[in-house]
């Protein structure tokens, strides 16, 4: 029997898991793995410029493909640099496997060079993690890691591999096995509860579906859309739920919550039934919890029982996979309709239609200034929704969510739970690798883009034609917005204007820069960028006075929203 090294075994196991890409960065304690990568034919290693971006790229790849993303870093600082990326994937339930090097088993605990207790550090931000103590544990750990990351409520798993184990020899025919006596995710929902839910939904006069990231991760968008259309129930989503239901459908209420649409929030407040599917009723959506949906009963579908009843009181809990449950729910509901006829929701739908007309998400169309809403709307019209939109975090993210109608699952990629500035660019890198056939845009702010702008290099080296829509207002805009509204306009440390010429910056990496100051040039610039087969950054000098509206002020009920107010400060 032939023997291979732990490093070769690691790659063999990754191949067996169907891994296409490893996003990573070498270092002292992963040299044996990188030595094996040198001979690797099937898996492509993508060299990023900072380990954080390896995790974000794996995350972006996972979000667009539904497969598990893989990132790799060395021990110590390599591992600690991954942490923001791992935490981000954890908060948004994204399946990634992170592989870190570690000092040799004999040195662990001695504070040796580049040693960090990465399994200890990542324990609160991983679904599970492994410190490999013997090479024979490696195949099982990898097999289990991919299984854990991608099943149940997905999430990141970390495998810490000491360098002596990377070098140790192991029989090449060893196969990984899964032995997890305590891990059994529930898939099928309880039929009795599903039936009860179907009757409750049928009897409801004013129901709303609240769909989240769980619908996308279980690939249940089709089932959700069919159910909503059949039962004539309007659908609102969380930020991560964007794409679970086509936002150009007349039943769509777009995103709810702090910067959601007023009509979605009004629907929550006035509903008699909320059907939450794959959502966690996060504070950005519920606003003041004691006031949230006071008139509604709640049906909550989630694969994670710990989410049910965590934030809101639930009338009918259904634990299981969104797709499996929606299939059963449709059947149960259909049976009722066949026996009793269609439920009458005309009045409710009419009210919602009126709200949609009365409270559209808007911007000042008459202003001569460049409004971010106009840019995103134009982008939507040009792409017709057929593109992958990644976002950074802050105002740019909320404008993207409000003005870009997401029509398909896995096409709106955003850091929801953790709210990680700097996520968008590396996520675009992963997204473009995952979907080379699609146009990938990173909607960015001038603050966020500077957090990881070194990834321009990764995009250029790999010939990724990502388009960066930079909404440049010279501010850390979202914080500035809060300072303006709630801190008496005391703009502490939020003005970053004039510190960098983004055109020169992108050109320095070999990309193309286009500057737009006038709204008449928006369409032309976006079309031009799409036609350039290279990394392009469009530096839109937007109205720096423009804020994100509507907005639920912190601690308020969600129907008390600040209405749109045009900025109009001009670019000073």
């Amino acid at each position: 029997m032939g023997k291979i090294s732990g490093s070769q075994m690691l790659l063999k196991c990754l191949r067996e898991e169907g891994v296409e890409y490893i996003f990573g960065y070498p270092g002292g304690k992963v040299i044996p793995i990188y030595d094996a990568i040198y001979d690797e034919k099937k898996i492509k290693h993508i060299l990023v410029r900072h380990e954080q971006c390896a995790a974000h790229a794996a995350d972006g790849y996972a979000r667009v493909t539904g497969k598990t993303g893989v990132c790799m870093a060395t021990s110590g600082p390599g591992g600690t640099n991954l942490i923001t990326g791992i935490a981000n994937a954890y908060m948004d339930s994204i399946p990634i496997v992170a592989i870190t090097g570690q000092v040799s088993t004999s040195e662990i605990g001695s504070d040796s060079f580049q040693e960090a207790d990465i399994t200890g550090i990542t324990s609160p931000i991983t679904k599970h993690n492994y410190l490999i103590k013997h090479v024979r544990e490696l195949p099982n750990a990898i097999k289990e890691a991919f299984y854990i990351a991608s099943t149940g409520r997905p999430g990141p798993v970390l495998i810490d591999v000491p360098i002596d184990i990377q070098n140790a020899l192991i029989d090449e025919n060893v196969k990984g096995e899964i032995n997890l006596p305590g891990y059994k995710p529930t898939i099928k929902g309880n039929l009795k509860q599903i039936r009860e839910a179907a009757f409750k939904i049928y009897d409801s006069k004013k129901p709303v579906i609240f769909s989240g990231g769980g619908v996308i991760s279980s690939n249940a968008s089709t089932e959700l859309t069919e159910f909503a259309r059949y039962s004539k129930i309007p659908v609102t989503t969380s930020l991560l739920g964007k794409g679970s239901f086509p936002e150009n459908d007349e039943l769509s209420l777009m995103m709810a919550g702090m910067h959601g649409t007023k009509y979605a929030n009004l629907a929550f407040v006035n509903a008699d039934l909320i059907i939450g599917i794959g959502v966690r009723f996060d504070d950005r959506v519920t606003g003041k919890l004691s006031e949230f949906a006071k008139n509604a009963e709640i049906i909550h579908v989630d694969i994670d029982p710990a989410e049910i009843g965590k934030n809101v009181k639930v009338k009918i809990p259904i634990v299981g996979d969104a797709k499996a449950i929606l299939v059963d729910l449709f059947k149960e509901y259909e049976n009722i309709v066949k026996a009793k006829g269609e439920a009458n929701r005309d009045e409710w739908l009419k009210t919602i239609k009126e709200w949609k007309i009365k409270y559209p998400v808007r911007y000042d169309k008459n202003s001569n200034l460049l409004k971010p809403g106009f840019i995103i709307e134009t982008l939507y019209e040009i792409t017709k929704g057929d593109a992958i939109i990644c976002t950074e975090v802050g105002q740019n993210q909320m404008w993207a969510a409000q003005f870009y109608k997401t029509l398909y699952p896995r096409t709106f990629i955003s850091s929801g739970g953790l709210g990680t500035m700097g996520f968008g660019l590396p996520a675009s890198v992963g997204a473009q690798f995952g979907r080379p056939d699609k146009l990938v845009f990173d909607i960015a702010g001038d603050g966020s883009i500077q957090m990881n702008s070194h990834e321009f290099a990764t995009a250029i080296v790999n010939k990724l034609p990502i388009k960066i829509i930079l909404l440049n207002n010279g501010y850390l805009g979202m914080v500035k917005q809060w300072q303006e509204l709630f801190y008496a306009e005391r703009y502490s440390e939020t003005c970053i204007r004039g510190c960098v010429d983004f055109i020169k910056l992108i050109e320095a990496y070999g990309g193309v820069g286009i500057r737009v100051k006038d709204k008449k040039d928006v369409e032309k610039a976006i079309k031009e960028a799409i036609n350039i087969n290279n990394l392009v950054l469009i530096d839109f000098w937007i109205d720096p006075g423009e804020n994100v509206f509507p907005m639920v002020p912190p601690g308020s009920p969600i129907d008390e929203m600040l209405e749109y107010k045009s900025g109009g400060e001009g670019h000073k």
């Binding site: 399994t119 200890g120 324990s123 609160p124 679904k127 599970h128 410190l131 103590k133 854990i148 409520r153 997890l180 006596p181 305590g182 891990y183 994670d304 029982p305 710990a306 009843g309 965590k310």
Partner: protein, 158 residues
Amino acid sequence: MNHIISVLVENKSGVLAKISGLFSRRGFNIESLAVGTTDNEKISRITIVVTADESSIEQITKQLHKLVNVIKIQRLDSENAIRRELILVKVNTENKSRSEILEIATIFRANVVDVTKTSLLLELTGTESKIKAFEELLKPYGILEFVRTGMIACARGK
């Protein structure tokens, strides 16, 4: 209110840290904690006493279930379970009080495990309230050291 959670886990390194970390992270205080292997050496039992209200205890139980190495969780309350704790207490006997202390020990069925000229070391097993009463009675003599194991519990037979 005090709750006892009995958790069966895979006996692997790092598992205890994952569990105790979960409690602190979610803002729960552990009153006592006892760990040992079961009849199967690959499985350990962790008995945790925690003070929390009903909804918090439900949330912590669900969160514990999410840990991959956790196999089974049991809630044990005083009605359905036998609860025991073991203590070792060293009492001062300098004031000619040895015979009185021995009398108390007999009543409580505590064992004498060490004697010196100036101290007695007693061993006692019992429920929380029994141990509390014992401690109160010994206090006036001067407790030099007090060591307890943390509670363990077992569901009654059906």
